[in-house]
């Protein structure tokens, strides 16, 4: 891919990072990247290691982790706050990405103060998938 083509993908990825709580589907993201949905999905995975859909879910889970860690919002509130439409889809995405449930995650994370700027914490602590359902268990290389 040329840097120009990659830049289109990056802009779609930045849109997910920015607007993760909005309803985002592959068609809308592909439009943002000026590509057909199928072409976009393939290229995005090639560039960033996961499908656009998976990337949206991972981003939402990562934001949910932050809220569970640093606020006292209920799991239900966190679920809708980060853009999930149901507790079921939130729990299953959360488990797939972190290997834990939201409640269990909060219990282990409580009392851990933010020691580095949130923006870098978000990059460094961005979850990498493990367990069933992820295409590349333990894949890393982001941030």
């Amino acid at each position: 891919m040329t840097p120009e083509q990659i830049a289109h993908l990056r802009r779609a990825k930045d849109l997910v990072d920015r607007s993760y709580a909005d309803p985002l589907d592959v068609v809308a993201l592909a439009g943002h990247a000026h590509m057909s949905p199928a072409h976009f999905a393939r290229r995005f995975k090639e560039a960033f290691g996961e499908s656009p859909h998976q990337y949206v879910l991972t981003r939402r889970v990562e934001r949910a982790q932050e809220l569970l860690r640093n606020t006292d919002a209920t799991v239900t509130d966190v679920c809708f706050e980060v853009g999930f439409q149901s507790l079921g889809s939130f729990s299953s995405a959360f488990r797939r990405v972190t290997g834990s449930t939201p409640t269990a995650y909060r219990a282990t994370a409580i009392g851990l103060p933010p020691t580095i700027p949130g923006c870098w914490a978000a990059l460094w602590t961005r979850p990498v998938g493990r367990g069933a359902g992820m295409e590349k268990p333990g894949a890393s290389g982001r941030g």
Binding site: P3, I6, R11, D14, C119
Partner: protein
């Protein structure tokens, strides 16, 4: 000892020059044709002894294949990051948006201040921060305003 210059890989030096001077308000310190490379440095308005080298290197310094990989990483957004500090993040951010820059993150309140993020024309990230103690009032109802109020009472 001090740092005088850091290198930032860019995809196109002319375009980067326009971005850093016209959009960001940096000035050019050196623009020298060294034959095998163009030494192009810019300096931010508030720090005249610190330079950013807008670097564009390929063979013979970097082999062609590696240079291509580096360009791809920069385009993906995994190149360099600059952390900038400003007095008034909202004014700075709005002015940058008016100039059409790519936004990564709108201004957000953090425990250390308010920060936002944009990209340069190559894809490098610029994180822009207004630290918590510049004297610019926090927005009403924000965590910062509450903390300032608590500290004052």
């Amino acid at each position: 000892m001090k740092i005088i210059t850091v290198a930032l890989r860019v995809l196109d030096q002319d375009r980067a020059l326009r971005f850093y001077t016209e959009s960001l308000g940096f000035t050019v310190t050196e623009d020298i044709d060294l034959g095998e490379m163009r030494w192009l440095t810019v300096t931010p308005p508030g720090q005249p002894d610190f330079n950013v080298l807008l670097e564009r290197v390929g063979p013979p310094f970097v082999d062609e294949d590696s240079a291509k990989h580096l360009d791809e990483l920069v385009a993906k957004g995994f190149g360099g990051t600059l952390f900038l500090e400003v007095e008034d993040i909202r004014a700075t951010f709005d002015a940058l948006v008016d100039k059409g820059v790519e936004v990564v993150q709108e201004p957000m309140e953090r425990f250390y201040g308010i920060d936002a993020a944009i990209r340069d024309d190559s894809g490098n990230q610029l994180r822009i921060m207004q630290p918590a103690d510049t004297g610019i009032p926090w927005p009403e109802g924000s965590m910062g305003a509450e903390r300032a109020q608590a500290a004052a009472s």
